[in-house]
């Protein structure tokens, strides 16, 4: 079940930034990225809202708090990334550090804080994954 759901998430989530590439190709990215992001989030919200209204169940306070934290960190991450780039740091430093570094912190917290067990093959997979992410963001 894990691999099936994660592969669906992998492809669908991977598709989502491609809209910005289309926007850039049409020459609209420099002027309309912020407007694009507003409608990007709003359409995602509308989609989930439709699913939610099909079988509404009262959300709990912890769901609201965790959801809010995820939303805040998502926007903060993007904003700080943009600010680091705007202050003169090169993209080939900013992207590998934030992607690969963030991944390493999450993997370590999974093992150390949440006591998850990862086999040798998994550790090798994570190491190669971090390396490939660093290479992808460099290229």
């Amino acid at each position: 079940m894990w691999i099936r759901l994660m592969l669906i998430a992998f492809f669908i989530n991977g598709l989502s930034p491609f809209g910005l590439r289309i926007l850039a190709d049409l020459g609209l990215a420099s002027q309309h990225t912020r407007g694009y992001l507003i409608f990007w989030y709003l359409s995602g919200l509308s989609f989930v809202l439709v699913l939610f209204l099909r079988a509404p169940r009262r959300p709990t306070l912890k769901e609201i708090l965790v959801g809010a934290a995820l939303g805040v960190f998502s926007v903060c991450g993007q904003t700080f990334l943009g600010l680091a780039l705007a202050r003169g740091l090169a993209g080939n430093v900013v992207y590998p550090v934030t992607l690969a570094g963030g991944l390493l912190i999450v993997a370590l917290s999974g093992v150390l804080v949440f006591k998850e067990q990862i086999g040798k093959v998994g550790i090798l997979g994570i190491s190669l994954g971090i390396l490939s992410l660093a290479l992808l963001s460099l290229s």
Binding site: L5, M6, H32, V66, G67, A69, F73, C76, G129, S139
Partner: protein
């Protein structure tokens, strides 16, 4: 330049915090759909506030074709988030977070296929490593499941007692 390093550190911590909060959502038995709803809701609110507060948007409004592009890809983002949170019930955050981050290979591959972008050695190696990494994660998960089956356990997150 010193400020830039502070921002990069804050960006890194924000992305790492997202992974941790996804796991917390799982541990606290949060409904994946509700989490997606509030995450998208708060992110949309911040995006709107950001655009209007800093007056960074051109007065002409958003062209229709920008909205047309944004809608399907926004739906993809919400659906991807939802499937990720559902899948997290059955696996580790360390490997799940890696897998979702590796999905940045998808737009790279699409750009090569659709826009005929050039493939240099580094990009080809990165895409190959993504594939190898995915195979290793699948193999690790498969071995785990096999081991659990032999021990008579269910290969799922210890925080979850339900099926999906």
């Amino acid at each position: 330049m010193y400020c830039a390093y502070i921002f990069i550190l804050l960006g890194l911590m924000s992305f790492a915090a997202m992974g941790v909060f996804h796991k917390l959502g799982d541990i606290l038995h949060c409904d994946p759909l509700h989490l997606t709803l509030f995450t998208m809701g708060f992110a949309a609110s911040f995006a709107v506030i950001n655009a209007f507060l800093f007056n960074s948007y051109p007065s002409g409004g958003v062209p229709g074709r920008v909205i047309l592009i944004a809608v399907p890809f926004g739906i993809c983002t919400a659906a991807g988030f939802w499937f990720f949170q559902r899948g997290l019930r059955f696996g580790n955050i360390a490997t799940s977070w890696l897998l979702i981050n590796l999905s940045s290979a998808v737009p790279t591959a699409l750009s090569i296929l659709v826009y005929r972008e050039s493939v240099n050695g580094r990009k080809a190696l990165a895409l190959l490593l993504v594939l190898v990494s995915l195979l290793l994660l699948w193999w690790d998960r498969y071995r785990d499941r096999d081991k659990d089956a032999k021990l008579g356990r269910i290969a799922a997150s210890p925080t979850i007692g339900e099926g999906d």
